[in-house]
Amino acid sequence: MIEITHQPLNPEEITDRVRRDANGAVVTFLGTTRDFSEGKRVIHLEYEAYEDMAYKKLEEIRQELRVEFGVEDVAIAHRIGPVDIGHISLVVAVASPHRKEAFLACHEAVNRLKQIVPIWKKEVFEGGAHWVACEDHEFAARESGLQPADG
């Protein structure tokens, strides 16, 4: 099960989708929005996705986990739109007969998601905002006298 949604995520429901009597291990990752980022207090977060491609890339990750770790039961859900501090933006649940594969596959799923899935996070601070991981752009833009379009 792969889902990109504006609704709050329900980790228990998502985890239940991968549980089966043959699986002795279930590993669930929750990505939650932090109150501080690089020393600055975040007051609000916003996620944006290129949805069709994001679904495709998440499905690709699920296939890779199947091949590399032999795990059949994987659920990934990402929330988009505004997400309050302390709330859940990502749930990845992996179940397998034994624990090692479940841990490795779940960790790897999150790593790959953060590398290739077209979803973006904007952190809003007091008096400013930035798109995470776009520091080079921001820095380069400041250096070259350009201002971000959003001020």
């Binding site: 290129y50 069709d52 973006w120 996070k121 798109w131 776009c134 080079d136 380069a140 379009a149």
Partner: protein, 81 residues
């Protein structure tokens, strides 16, 4: 030919729109398209920053040749999770 180009996140804000129609010559590559987009939206990214492009929902190389009707999207550094 006219190509529709989508922008998300930082690029959407910098371009001031989520979708633009861009004119390139037939047989143009991804690199050609990026050049045309940069000319039209100079604030998008400074010259030294490489712009990643997805064609038909797949990451594309600069020498990928584009065709009319391709779904093209400029992808700023991702940060989901």
């Amino acid at each position: 030919m006219q190509l529709s180009v989508r922008f998300f996140a930082l690029y959407r804000e910098r371009a001031g729109c989520g979708l633009a129609s861009v004119e390139v010559s037939d047989g143009a590559t991804v690199a050609d398209l990026v050049g045309a987009v940069r000319q039209r939206f100079p604030r998008l990214a400074p010259p030294e920053v490489q712009i990643v492009v997805a064609v038909n929902q797949e990451y594309a190389e600069p020498d990928t040749v584009l065709r009319e009707g391709d779904e093209i999207c400029l992808i700023p550094p991702v940060s989901g999770g």
